[in-house]
Symmetry: C2
Subunit: 287 residues, 2 copies
């Protein structure tokens, strides 16, 4: 007999610069890992959700607009898809979207915090889905910034950075050394993709990130979308490649393969989202 | 001597379906008008802000992405701009954006609640700006749905609906009778524009509104943008016209006239935002 009472319903908020976004729900887990505070809640509106150091990361019914937008512009367009690298992505959603492509043979996923993976597998199994059991997925628990330094040049078709804000453990994912290593390990015809913060709530970081990636790759462009639980709800991802802006040209066969299962992403949406640069950002990045 | 203490800083939240969005600030005014509860706060992050019946309407430093996106796709593209109708818009921001165009000779603004206008003029003067003193602006305090029934056919170049959610006083702004009257009073070559809720937080209302407007006008299309303080932050506006989707083709001279002062809107942004239809909406509206 289990007499433990269910946790009470309360508000769990992320506060950022005098603004808060909260979900009503029951806190299931609150623990401190080696790297960060991890909270798992069961929310009324979006199913189970995860916070790291008090910042919303993901929820079961509010994650596709993040993962589809990070993955599909890169994977629908890269020249080849044999070998993919994911830095971060501990909830499994990015791997799940990558594994939709039959051309993907091998994914390396480098996540710093094994508790994020374990708690996601236990409490948010719908996000990773079958990805966790797919033999193509190879998980390594390690700091991505140190891992990438020792990785062979020209070894991945797509490199995806799916990390948290550049404070705390993800700080090293937003600098010139790191982006240069990403560029170095990409094969010719490859595409680099990273979440690149909010043009509203993290305006300076967003613009600096786009400009920095443009210094390292021949082409780089931000794409704008919506993740309600992230500060301001207005989010961006930045894609980069050499020789041509390859990420702007999805390959028709791949569109057919993945688009029917997408809730947000479509080639039309992607084209619009690359164009939908707010005037205040365009003045800074397209001078 | 004024010994009245400043109101304490607290959180002011809008709650919607188990989600809340809050701004930290001081509550300056809380009163009940004939139609609704009106709250004015001085927020830490976005300056002074206004809530109606507990729902965020506007704040000084978070309003341009709403007003620019509602006004410019319509006014940059309508055949003529001599006479404009605004239903709602009591904070003055929509009128301010319309008055940027030198071709605008006359604006009728029909706002149901005179306290919204008075409190906006008093506490949020930067939003209406010089619009309140512009002789081209003619304000009538009346219910827009009854006013529009008695308006002459073919009398406006642009009709803009800038109302609240379809609950409470704005309920009549989301039905077939009302949209038919908007169509009737538009001149040939005119454009109709309305805010059309969130495809995320008000999914059914959003889709139904787009489909309803399409039954009444030859062409109608939603445009997607970001208003962080509205539920989910993901907002839409819908534009309609007869004979051709005129709202998709801004007139070059007008772009030159207004775009330099825009923080969010640009022709490129607009083109992208019309394309950035999420797949789940496109399946419903573009069958």
């Amino acid at each position: 007999m289990n007499n433990k009472p269910a946790p009470a319903i309360s508000w769990v908020d992320e506060e950022h610069q005098g603004v808060r976004y909260g979900l009503q729900g029951r806190v299931l887990i609150e623990e401190k890992s080696k790297y960060q505070k991890i909270t798992v809640i069961d929310s009324v509106r979006y199913g189970k959700g995860l916070l790291l150091d008090g910042c919303w990361m993901v929820a079961e019914h509010q994650e596709k607009q993040y993962h589809e937008c990070l993955v599909h512009p890169a994977l629908s367009s890269a020249e080849k898809l044999s070998k993919i690298l994911i830095i971060g992505g501990g909830d499994g959603g990015t791997a799940r979207e990558c594994l939709r492509y039959s051309e993907v043979h091998h994914i390396d996923m480098i996540e710093i915090d094994k508790r994020v993976v374990e708690l996601s597998q236990q409490h948010l199994p719908s996000i990773g889905g079958k990805a966790w059991d797919d033999p193509r997925l190879h998980l390594t628990i390690q700091d991505g910034t140190s891992w990438i330094k020792n990785t062979t040049t020209n070894s991945y078709d797509v490199v995806i950075v799916d990390g948290a804000d550049p404070l705390g453990p993800a700080e090293g994912l937003f600098n010139s050394d790191f982006f240069s290593n990403c560029q170095r390990i990409l094969k010719p015809g490859g595409i680099f993709a990273t979440q690149s913060e909010s043009p509203e709530a993290f305006r300076a970081i967003h613009i600096d990130t786009v400009l920095l990636i443009r210094k390292i790759f021949d082409y780089a462009d931000p794409l704008y979308g919506w993740v309600p639980m992230y500060p301001s709800g207005w989010w961006s991802w930045t894609f980069a490649s050499n020789e041509q802006p390859r990420y702007k040209h999805p390959i028709p066969e791949r569109i057919v393969e993945v688009s029917k299962k997408c809730e947000f992403w479509s080639p039309r949406w992607q084209k619009g989202a690359f164009d939908a640069i707010p005037a205040f950002v365009e003045r800074r990045i397209n001078k």
